[in-house]
Amino acid sequence: MKARLFAIATVAGLLVGAGLAQAQIKIGAILSISGPGAGMGNGYKGAFDFFPKEIAGQKVEYIVRDDGTDASNAYTIAQKMITEDHVDAFIGPSLTASDAAVAPLADKAKVPMIAMAPYEYDPHKQPYVFNDAQPLSLMVAKVFKYMQQHGVKTVGFIGFSDGWGDAVLAATKTAAAADGIRILDDERYARTDTSVDAQVLRLMSRHPQAVMMGNSATPAALPVVALRRRGYRGGIYGNHGIVSPAFIKVGGAAVEGVIADTSPLVVYKQLPAGNVVKPVATAFMQEYTKKFGPQSVNPFAGYSYDAMLLLKNAIPQALKVAKPGTVQFREALRAALEKTHELVGVSGVYNMTPDNHNGQDSRAAVLVEVKHGAWREIH
């Protein structure tokens, strides 16, 4: 009899224990830490070291997994996180292709997800999906506004022959049309190409006043070097994919004067004193560079950090409705995220509505120029 009572008590104790463990908030993060996306993945991952262990008195557990820059991996991981870990929200994935794979899954399971790559979708069809990275259209529009102000009437486009090149070209077409700028040429090359001389010659034969680039990372320096070597004198503009010290290192003196849009986080030190993002970005980057070194400044850590800020802002309201680990909690979390109002993150300011699950405005984009071998903000 005594033994039986003891057994019951033990089982009851275990159940209570399990119940308590369930009460903590679980956040699943899917990041591309290895594979071709590794360069960005390390930034995304680094920010997790500065996340709070507790939000509104609740313990928070972050489960971070690597999808190896492979969307099918991301899908499997997300499935496991939903069915086995019972996560309350997703941070990421950090890769556009993985976002596209995981979004339907998260939406069906009613797990709010904050995508961290530029990813276009319909928030009415996938109400559980949010995105905290600046949409390409917002960033490219900033560049074209600048071109227009400086009297540019015609541009030539050169970009990657892949999805990123297509996406930047689409944004370029929209922005150029809005600002009355004509696109004279569309040239493509592959990331792994060893020469772009032919494309550059063709581009120059059309005599555009400026060149817009739809490329990213260090292969973006290739057309700039080729253009300048061939004596092209017009302005060369890029998107935020090229803003890194490595681009300047590879391009050397040829990339002086290249102008691109970027997240305010990257130039946090140079932001004007009145900028709303500046104090938040500075506080975060000071911690970040203290841990990872002064060369570690990158925009990607900012997207992880902003995803956390968005959740941190919404969780207290969801906790009033239900306990973590329940579908009611996730529903409430989604509703709270959608009501995000003037939340200042490190990459911009967020105002979510049912029609807009990104919520950033022009405050999320700044223009930078290569001057004396470094990226400098243009006011």
């Binding site: 996306g37 792994t192 060893t194 020469s195 001389d197 032919a198 990372a217 490595a246 590879v250």
Partner: protein
């Protein structure tokens, strides 16, 4: 198209064509001696470029530790082969890596471009024979298809190691020459002349090697009739080792040459290798002159294709394979029948 643009495109095409030519030669040497389609050659190209870039920026590249590790394994494996073999192995797999390691560690801090490039060649070249020793030789008699599958597997292994060794960023190799010549309206860079010069020197050197040295003749014998060569006492293991050594050297050389023209990342080699493969196919995987013509054709076509329709450039280059393959298969049936 005005003549200036045409000549500029031609010059660009010939420079890249020369790189493809080097790789096509490496592929042909390995294929004719061992029936292996050496896909990882492209990865060794990236290894060569990134090793040189690493040395130049003062790091001791991780490829050095790979060389040391594989050499140590080869040394251990040779202990079973008797005293003479072990003595020779000690020299090749013991003394050589030790010398290269010491030289790299000591010279990495000096950052002298020519030394970085020579060391990179010295580090990457032995990887050819080592890959042969541990991966291909145990299944040297397998079918061409099985060897190709092994090649693909090795490609993925090397690409993974490349990411661990060098990280995802790209790097540039110091240029051998920063000179620039102007002929009329044409602008010719010293580096592209270096590329052409290296290709010509290699072709001449290999011609001499195959025509005048015992090892070269043995390699040719093994290529034209493997069984007959074995019957007259030519060691298949040694010829394989030599072929892979040559291919690795050529790949590393192509890497340090092209790495100065354009920054390379750890995974950039595969596509360059693939273009070399297209050129080698044009030579039917047997003819060197045809492969050379094919390589230059691929280079020039790529350059012109980039000018006319840059988005379809790869399509243009790889479509070239279809008529060539058709012609080859009509002419002499499949290779598998002969093997």
């Amino acid at each position: 198209m005005d003549p200036f643009i045409f000549f500029a495109l031609l010059q660009d095409g010939i420079t890249t064509g020369a790189i493809y030519l080097l790789l096509a030669i490496g592929l042909l040497i390995v294929f004719s001696a061992t029936r292996v389609i050496f896909v990882p050659q492209g990865d060794l190209l990236a290894f060569g470029a990134l090793t040189a870039a690493g040395l130049q920026s003062g790091h001791v590249p991780a490829t050095l530790w790979l060389l040391d590790g594989l050499s140590a394994a080869a040394l251990l494996a040779s202990l079973t082969g008797g005293v003479r073999a072990a003595g020779r192995a000690l020299l090749v797999w013991g003394v050589y890596p030790a010398v290269v390691s010491l030289a790299s560690v000591w010279l990495a801090r000096r950052e002298i471009p020519a030394v970085s490039i020579l060391l990179a060649l010295a580090i990457v070249t032995p990887m050819g024979p080592l890959i042969w020793r541990f991966a291909y030789r145990p299944m040297a008699d397998a079918s061409v298809l099985a060897l190709l599958i092994l090649s693909m597997a090795l490609h993925f292994v090397l690409i993974g190691l490349g990411l661990v060794f060098f990280g995802p960023e790209e790097a540039s190799v110091p240029a051998l020459s920063t000179a620039n010549f102007t002929i009329g309206a044409l602008d010719i860079s010293g580096q592209s002349l270096c590329v052409l010069g290296a290709a010509v020197a290699l072709v001449v050197g290999l011609g001499w090697f195959f025509g005048a040295t015992v090892q070269g003749k043995a390699l040719r014998a093994a290529a034209s009739d493997p069984l007959g060569a074995r019957l007259v006492g030519i060691d298949a293991g040694a010829t394989g080792s030599l072929a892979f050594g040559l291919a690795a050297f050529i790949a590393a050389l192509a890497g340090v040459l092209i790495g100065a023209l354009t920054p390379l990342s750890y995974d950039a080699g595969f596509e360059i290798g693939l273009k070399g493969f297209v050129a080698a196919i044009m030579g039917g995987l047997v003819s060197y002159p045809m492969a050379a013509a094919g390589a230059l054709l691929v280079g020039v076509l790529e350059s012109l294709g980039s000018f006319w329709a840059s988005a379809y450039r790869e399509v243009i280059v790889f479509t070239l394979l279809i008529p060539v393959l058709l012609w080859l298969s009509l002419r002499r049936g499949s290779d598998e029948d002969r093997a």
